[in-house]
Amino acid sequence: MNHLIIAPIVLPAVLAGLIVLLARRAMLAQRLIGAVALLALLGLSVVLLRQSGEIPAQAYFLGNWPAPFGIVLVLDRLSALMLVLTAGLAAVIWAYAVVTGWDRRGRHFHTLFLFQMMGLNGAFLTGDAFNLFVFFEVLLIASYGLMVHGGGTARVRAGVQYVAFNLLGSTLFLFGLAAIYSVTGTLNMADLAVKLAVLPPGDAALIRVAFALLLMVFAIKGALVPLHFWLPGTYAAAPGPVAALFAVMTKVGAYAMIRLGTLIVTAPATEGLWQAYLTPAALCTMAVGAVGVLGSHSLPRMVAFAGIGSMGVVFLAIGAGTPQATSAALYYMVHSTLATAALFLLADMITPAQGRDDVQGRGAAASGVMAALFMAAAIAMAGMPPLSGFVAKLLVLDALRDKAALMWSAVLLASLLTILGFARTGSRLFWKPPTDVSPAPAPDNPGAIAAVVALLAAIVGLTVFAGPITAWLDMTAQALHLPTGYIAANALPGVP
């Protein structure tokens, strides 16, 4: 067995514990441990990414229990991709939080950040549906702490809503899992794929209800309309770097939908069940996101709505259900995570703590560097050439060619509204002459700007190397839609 597979879960868990035990009051030691953890995670995930290209899927059996009885972690191309994306994004955001001093504004920032990494990595690696629930809870409970980091009434109150809503989602998840277990007697994902393929027709109704519940759970995580309404308030109230890290949390919902959607929901009993809901909901998500971008008063809120809109495009591509569309969804997912995170960091720099809201009445709060970075990030987010947002939207549109009339006009119209919203906010923020009530622009923090530049550089890299990356993602999508390698890695008894 390849013990590296479990390292992205164990490493942050151990180091987060160490921080609490050894370095509760020593900020320097906390930062040191955090830096070691994030660099190690980045290195680990790159190594795992290289391995995943050579072997289609590797399983790690916890406690060496055979597959349907014990818990398995499975490393394949998709999980390795998500690990690298998470580790890279987290390293940049963590550096931003340190240089801007966000980690000093409350206690336990580094501990919670590492537990969040543990939950995210676990959710991407696990091959067991109940374990997926457990890692969702790990990442959520860490996110509750991060969300209210720094305190403040508005933040804590938004936090209560966020926690309550996600607890409801967790309960639905448990109802769904229990119903699946009562029908199939297993929760191992590969075993579920095998068992559901030969499910007696009499059991189909319960399993369909269970997967409809799971769709709702992942829709809550991924902010799919009509279950998106927790997101704008939460992300706008969360500390800037935390909101940027949460950009990858919505992708956990999309990841789970791709994973279960290609592995299990393709079984005869549930075939087409998710697609029927996903496409119309994704179209509404794009519309709500675009209108929200136009209608938001505050910059963080506008970015949150732009994030919702981008999830709409991701879900539209997932809903198409073809390998080509899945590949496009993955590319768009990587791109939109980076772009959303960059915009949240910029929003955090441009609207400092005393005036998080009302960008409309205030001008010239930021320098020219800021304006240039904002423009680059907005171009990426809205999907204009020359950055990867354009390539990503092109891939999605190409994959949706057979329903072009509706899909293309929806995607393009939503993009237009997003461009309008960003252009208006940009000109109000940076071109409006300063008034007496405008706060003086905060001095630029070179470290913070470097973090945003790093994210933008990743977007440029995604654009420049779009050819090899899409070729790699095409192979990923093909392996997802023909999951024999994934199932074989679990070495289930009686399954070839």
Partner: protein
């Protein structure tokens, strides 16, 4: 037995959802707790109802009850217990800071002037 379990899941879920839709945080938290009780019983029943059986294989016993849902329900209980503690503390913090325990007020105000 089956009717008792099924109806208790139904009643708990209905009461939990009703309380979830209240405007104050305290009933919402109570509703979340009731929902987690409902789901715990539901998971328990997912392994089939077999009263009086032990969850271990024993040649002398006439049967056994599926042990896995018991392990799952234990995990679910621990998690929901921890989560309830977190939301109680956060709700208490929000109440003490702002002076009222309305669930809704904050979400819409973040974009507006109050911040």
């Amino acid at each position: 037995m089956e009717i008792l379990i099924a109806s208790s899941v139904g009643v708990l879920t209905a009461a939990g959802l009703y309380l979830m839709l209240r405007a104050q945080t305290f009933p919402v938290i109570l509703g979340l707790s009731l929902l987690s009780y409902a789901v715990n019983i539901f998971i328990f029943a997912a392994g089939r109802v077999a009263p009086g059986m032990a969850p271990i294989l024993d040649p002398a016993a006439i049967g056994y009850v599926d042990p896995l849902p018991q392990a799952l329900v234990l995990t679910a209980i621990v998690i929901s217990f921890g989560m309830t503690a977190v939301i109680v503390i956060m709700a208490l913090g929000a109440y003490l800071n702002s002076g009222d325990d309305d669930v809704d007020a904050a979400g819409s105000d973040i974009s507006g002037g109050a911040g």
